[in-house]
Subunit: 421 residues, 2 copies
Amino acid sequence: MKLSQLFTKTSKTVPADETARNAQLLIQAGFVYKVMAGVYAYTPLGLKVLENIKRIVREEMDAIGGQELIMTNLQPREVWESTTRWSDDVVDVWFKTELKDGTPLGLAWSHEEAIMEMMRQFIGSYKDMPVSVYQFQTKLRNELRAKSGIMRGREFVMKDMYSLHASAEDLDAYYQQVIEAYKKVYDRLGIGKDTFVTFASGGAFTKFSHEFQTVCDAGEDILYLHRGKNVAVNEEVLDEAIKELGVGKDELEKVKSAEVGNIFNFGTEKAEQMHMTFAGADGKEHPIYLASYGIGITRVMGVIVEKMADDKGIVWPENVAPAYIYLARIGDDAAVREQTDALYDALTSQGCLVLYDDRDLRAGEKFADADLMGIPYRAVISPKTGGKVELKARTGDSTTLMTAEELLQHCKQQDLADVLA
Amino acid sequence: MKLSQLFTKTSKTVPADETARNAQLLIQAGFVYKVMAGVYAYTPLGLKVLENIKRIVREEMDAIGGQELIMTNLQPREVWESTTRWSDDVVDVWFKTELKDGTPLGLAWSHEEAIMEMMRQFIGSYKDMPVSVYQFQTKLRNELRAKSGIMRGREFVMKDMYSLHASAEDLDAYYQQVIEAYKKVYDRLGIGKDTFVTFASGGAFTKFSHEFQTVCDAGEDILYLHRGKNVAVNEEVLDEAIKELGVGKDELEKVKSAEVGNIFNFGTEKAEQMHMTFAGADGKEHPIYLASYGIGITRVMGVIVEKMADDKGIVWPENVAPAYIYLARIGDDAAVREQTDALYDALTSQGCLVLYDDRDLRAGEKFADADLMGIPYRAVISPKTGGKVELKARTGDSTTLMTAEELLQHCKQQDLADVLA
C-alpha cells in the first residue's frame, strides 16, 4: 500500500475528546475514525488489523470444530422474553427499535437465545450434538458511559461461539478445549505471556466462570495473580476463590487488567427456560447443555495498543500489524526513487505486506509516522544508504544495512526479528 | 466439509411462511435461517456463498483503487439532519433508537452522509482527491413489507462505495470505470449476459441515474430492453429515455427484472448541504463532488437463486458455489468408504472445495440433497463404479466415469465443465 494513495493522514494533535490512550493513538495514526462516543469506524489500516486478529481467531475456532455462521442484529422480543433477558431491568445494554407496525425489536448485544432458538430446527436427538458455532458480529450495546476508546464501545466486533451438548461431561471436555484454543489465540496475538485464565463470578450452574485477563494498566479490572502457580483471580470473587484454591492472599500480586475473553457455562439453564429438549440414548427427553465463549475483537485491538505502545506511538505485534515493513524513500533523488519503487514492487509481488511511504516529506516526518503507526520494521533508502537498505525494528534503536536482495529473502522468511536481535 | 459434521439439515418441506422461491430453497437447503420476516441468518453454507460474492466484488473494487473500510451502524442525528435525510418523511426506512440519556440515533440504511462527514477530517485540498472508499456492511432498513426473501431484507449485506472528486469531469470518468468494474462483477457471478446497465430516475444533478438490472421473473421491476443495441430502460423513465435514446417503444422487449446494483451521481448536492469544500488549484473553495455505488450482496445471492434454480433445487454458478464438488459415498462397503475418504482428503489437501456426503443415507436421498444444494458437480463412488468415480454436472444428465487421479487433475484445473460438455 502506498501512503500517497491512502486517504487517511496522521495527526500530531491528540484528540481533545478522548481520554483513552488507545483511541488517541488509533485516531492520530489513522486507524480509526470516531463517529461519536464509543462508536468508531475502521479505516483501511484499522480494518487490516481487525482482519488479522479475526484470521487468527478463525483458525483456532475452526481447529476445534467451530462452524462459522452469521446471526442477525435484529432480534424478536418473544425469544428473549422466554429467558427474562428482554427486560431492560435484567439486561441494561439493549438498544431497542421497532417495525413500522410498532412491533418492538432488540439489537443484538449477545446471541445465546438466538442460537438456541435456531437450533430448535436442527437438534432433535443426542446424535445431533455436540455442535459448536461461532460468528464475527458487530454487536451493539447501550453503554451508559463510553470512555475507554475501542476497549468498550457501543458498537464493536465480537467473536462469539456457542456450543451445545447432550451431557455436562461433554460440555466440560469441550470447554477445556476452548480454553486451550483461547490460549493459542492470545499467544499468536502477542499477549500470551501476560494473559491469564481467571476465576470470575459464575452463574446458576457453576460457582465460577472464567475470564481471560491481560495485565494492562488501562484495564478496568483488578486481578490477584500468582505467576508461579499460574493462578489469577478477579477481585470480585477473591475471598471465595482463595479458599477454594488454597493460596494465601499475601502470596498474590495485585495488578490492573483488561478482560480479553470470557467463557461461560450455562448448563441447562437456557434450555429449561426455553423448553428445548433432545431425545437421549435412553429414549427420554433431556434439556440441552449450552456454553458460550466470547472474544471482543475490537477490544483486543485496543488492549494491544494500550499494552504495547510507547511514547512514540503504537507497537503492533507482527501477527497483527497491517504491514510487516514500513518502507521509506528519503529525498527526491532519481536513483533512490527508482530503487525504492523497485523494492516495493518486489516485496509486494512476493506477498510481503509493505506500507510504502512514497510521499514528499522530510525524513523526520516519515520516521515519526512509521513509529506512530507501529509497523514492526522500518526500511529506509536514501542517498546516504549507498544503494543498500537501512533496517530498524520499531522497538529497537540499532540499525543495520543490507542489500535489497537480502531484505527480500528475510521478508520471505519473516525473520527480521532474528536479524536485528 | 463433511455433511455428517455440518449442523444444518436439508428439509423436504417448503416453508409455509415464505412466498419467495429464493427463501424457500435457501431455507430447505440449509443456507439461511429465518429469524423473522426479512431477517435471515446465514449458516456455514450460506456464509460461504456470501464470502465468494464478496471476494469477487472486493477484487474488482480494489482493481479500480477502492479502499476498503468499515463504517458504523449507529448514526448521529445531526449529520443526517444537515441534508434533511434524518426525517422519516424524507427517508421512510429508518430504524431509530436512542442512548440512555435519550439522544436519538439512527441505524444506517446507507452511508453518504457518514462518509462525507468523515472526509471533513481528511480532505482539505484538491490534492486529496479523488478518493474512493467502500465497505461490506450489514444495513438495516425498516421495510413496510418483506416478502421477497433475501432479495429485499430488513437486514442485509451491502457493498457500498463512495467516490469524492474535485471536478465533475473527474467524477464522470471514475463513474464510467465503476460501470466497467460492475460489468466484470456480474460476469464473474455468472449473471453477466442477462444484466444490463439501465436508465432509471435521476437526482438533482443528473437526468438519469443508472441501475444494473438482471432479467429475472422474480424481479420487482419492469425493464424495456433492446438486446441488440444493449439498451435497457426502467419503466419509470420510459417516455423520457426513449426520446433521449432515439429508439421506438415498439422495438423494446418488456421483461421483469431485479435490481442488482445501483450507482448514483450526487454532484455537489451533499457537499453544498453539508458545507464541505476543498481548496482548488485556483486557491478558492469549491464543493466536493460525490457519487455512490451499491451492490446488495445478499440480494444478488437471492437473484442468482431465483434465476438459476430448477425444479430440483438451487443451481450455483461455479464462482459462487460453497463447494466445487459434491462427493457422495454410496453404501457401506469398506473399500468404497476407504476410497471415498481418501479422495476427499486428496481433494481437500490440494485446495479443492468439497462437500463430502459421508452420511449413512440412501443414494436417492444423497442425490436429492446434492441437487437441492446446487453444487456444480456431483462425484459418486459406489460398489457399482468399479473403483472409479462417476461424475455428473448439476445441470446435465450425462455421467462419465473417471479415475480418482483424473478427477484430482480436473479439479486442479477447474475444467470439469469442459469434461462434461
